[in-house]
């Protein structure tokens, strides 16, 4: 028989499935994703200390000498580190300006008919800012956090983000019919991306809290925190899956039909 004699029917997409079992996926999740997450568990003291050192390096020209201090504290199984720094407490006028501005945004944005999803995001940011500004306007003494507290909260949140990123990415890419090195590489990329992103975000946000105003702490913590991390997780996943889909197009040996 000549090789161009086809004995397969190109199956419809409705009951197509990939021609491997779930066992390799489970194994890879346990052997690749979990160890990457465990790196965070076992090395977060070093990671957080390094992040703090980078923050000190970058922020020291903007703060008084000795006002930046790396604090070490017991956290889970080791010592976590965060950067203690002075915060910029908003004046009454500043709080009032932010209150008015955020209120105006809350009233204006919902009435604009274009770019609805972006505007809703803007409305959410405005709402959080409004709450924060009102708090500082009405009961400024009751605000429970200093800049250092935010720094501490951020680091704790970031540790859990770093822990979960390999797991989430693993759940996304490991089931796909691709080579193991490419999956490992993608997960490493996402892990390194989260480390870098978390660090630069830390530095910039600390600057905002320390030099601009504490009033933005809630916005930074809630709206520009973990939700934003999903952007790069999904972005890396989508690029990887697109490349894979392009690569395997026309390769019918990868598919089975129904069972």
């Amino acid at each position: 028989m000549s090789t161009d004699m086809k004995s397969v029917i190109l199956y419809h997409r409705s009951y197509r499935k990939i021609a491997v079992s779930a066992k390799p996926f489970v194994l890879q999740l346990v052997c690749i994703a979990l160890p990457l997450s465990l790196i965070v568990v076992f090395f977060y003291p070093e990671i957080t200390r390094t992040v703090c050192r980078i923050a000190v390096q970058v922020l020291s020209p903007y703060f008084d000498k000795d006002s930046l201090r790396i604090v070490s504290y017991p956290y889970i199984i080791g010592n976590g580190h965060y950067l203690a720094l002075p915060g910029k407490f908003p004046s009454a006028v500043f709080s009032l300006v932010n209150t008015i501005f955020s209120l105006l945004m809350l009233l204006l944005l919902p009435n604009i008919n274009r770019l609805k999803p972006l505007l809703i995001l803007g409305t959410v940011l405005s709402f959080i800012l409004f709450i924060s500004a009102m708090f500082f306007l009405l009961v400024p003494d009751q605000f429970p956090y200093q800049a250092s507290d935010y720094s501490d909260l951020y680091i704790k949140q970031q540790i859990s983000i770093w822990f979960f990123v390999p797991v989430i990415m693993g759940l996304g890419v490991l089931p796909l019919p691709a080579s193991l090195p490419s999956k490992i590489f993608t997960m490493l990329i996402s892990f390194v991306y989260s480390l870098i992103f978390g660090t630069v975000r830390y530095v910039v946000f600390l600057y905002i809290i320390g030099k601009i105003s504490l009033i933005y702490m809630a916005v930074l913590f809630f709206a520009l925190g973990p939700l934003v991390d999903f952007v790069y997780i999904v972005g890396i996943y989508s690029c990887y899956t697109t490349r894979l889909a392009k690569k395997i197009k026309g390769n019918f040996t990868l598919w089975k039909w129904s069972y």
């Binding site: 028989m1 000549s2 004699m5 086809k6 004995s7 029917i9 390096q57 970058v58 922020l59 020209p61 903007y62 991306y193 870098i196 992103f197 630069v200 975000r201 530095v203 910039v204 600057y207 934003v228 952007v231 790069y232 999904v234 972005g235 890396i236 989508s238 690029c239 697109t242 039909w257 129904s258 069972y259």
Partner: protein
């Protein structure tokens, strides 16, 4: 340094959006998913489609070798009548305007269309054949894709029938053949090899009443039982010999139908279905597992098309008759 950090932060945040924005602007993949609006379930689809395309391209061409376009560019050999000697190899699409006869161990590597009768020799290896007349296939032949006849088809022992073997008339298949899809009116399996005679003929067909009562929670019926209802079993269901069910049967496990039982309606099972010798099922049979029709089972009735679908496999023993369609994504075995 802070400025660099800020730029890096904004950059790392925006970077994942860039491929998305690019796709929004370029619309490389913005078309809707393709749905074939003309798709209509037809067991003889491949052959009918092939005939139509070939006649459109080559219907008026004289005998000889020509270049045509069917789904792609092909060479076609056109002849009035063909008697292909043993051990021959034909690499072209083959169009025979009258009858076709092949010797043994002939290889037809492309599709063949015969407008007369076709007599395929033993141990032939054929990609696909569409025939407007009767077809006789010798033993040990292999069809890679499909074989179709507008009239009757007779398949000898140990043939591999490829993806589909279909005909408008009677489809007779001998023992040892393998298949995926069959269609015939009826499909008759190795009648001459049957040991026990067909049973269940004494019970006349009665249409299943719409809105018939439903019995649930049954796991077995005794022999000679008669039920005038649909049966739904949460687990496996075993039906005794000579039982008569005037209804449809659905099981979330396995169905075992005893010998000479009669079912007026359809059989559905999440697992295997086994139909005992001489039984009669007037409806369709559908299993997410395997279907085994033992000797002398009849499915359907003259003038009414029914189906036997076994996702993982179908076994048809001698004397089985199916009025209609048989399909599996696993292995179909005869005998």
């Amino acid at each position: 340094m802070l400025l660099l950090c800020t730029i890096l932060l904004v950059g790392l945040f925006m970077l994942p959006f860039l491929p998305a924005i690019r796709e929004v602007m370029r619309k490389d993949d913005a078309s809707p998913l393709f749905i074939n609006m003309e798709y209509s379930k037809d067991p003889r689809y491949f052959a009918i489609s092939f005939r139509r395309l070939l006649l459109k391209s080559a219907g008026d061409l004289p005998e000889g070798i020509h270049n045509i376009t069917i789904s792609k560019s092909e060479t076609i050999k056109i002849t009035n009548q063909a008697d292909v000697p043993s051990d021959s190899l034909i690499e072209n699409v083959f169009y025979v305007k009258n009858s076709l006869k092949t010797g043994s161990k002939v290889s037809l590597q492309k599709e063949t269309y015969c407008q007369g009768n076709a007599q395929i020799g033993e141990s032939n290896s054929i990609k696909a054949v569409a025939c407007d007349g009767n077809v006789d296939v010798g033993k040990d032949s292999t069809f890679l894709r499909w074989i179709d006849s507008e009239k009757d088809m007779t398949i000898a022992e140990n043939c591999n029938l490829g993806i589909s073997a279909t005909c408008s008339g009677k489809l007779s298949i001998a023992v040892g053949c393998t298949f995926m899809r069959l269609y015939g009116a009826p499909i008759i399996i190795a009648e001459n090899n049957m040991i026990s005679p067909a049973g269940g003929e004494s019970v006349k067909y009665r249409t299943v009443v719409d809105g018939a009562p439903t019995e649930r929670g049954i796991s077995s019926l005794p022999p000679h039982d008669i039920r005038n209802s649909n049966l739904i079993a949460e687990g496996s269901l075993s039906i005794g010999e000579h039982a008569v069910i005037h209804g449809h049967i659905k099981s979330h496990g396995k169905i075992v139908l005893g010998a000479s039982a009669v079912v007026m309606g359809n059989l559905f099972a999440e697992k295997d279905i086994e139909v005992g010798p001489g039984s009669r099922v007037y409806g369709s049979i559908f299993s997410q597992g395997c279907v085994k029709l033992q000797q002398g089972v009849t499915v359907g009735d003259a003038g009414r098309i029914k189906s036997v679908i076994g996702k993982k496999g179908i076994s048809l023993e001698c004397g089985v008759r199916v009025y209609g369609y048989v399909a599996t994504e696993g292995k179909g075995i005869v005998g």
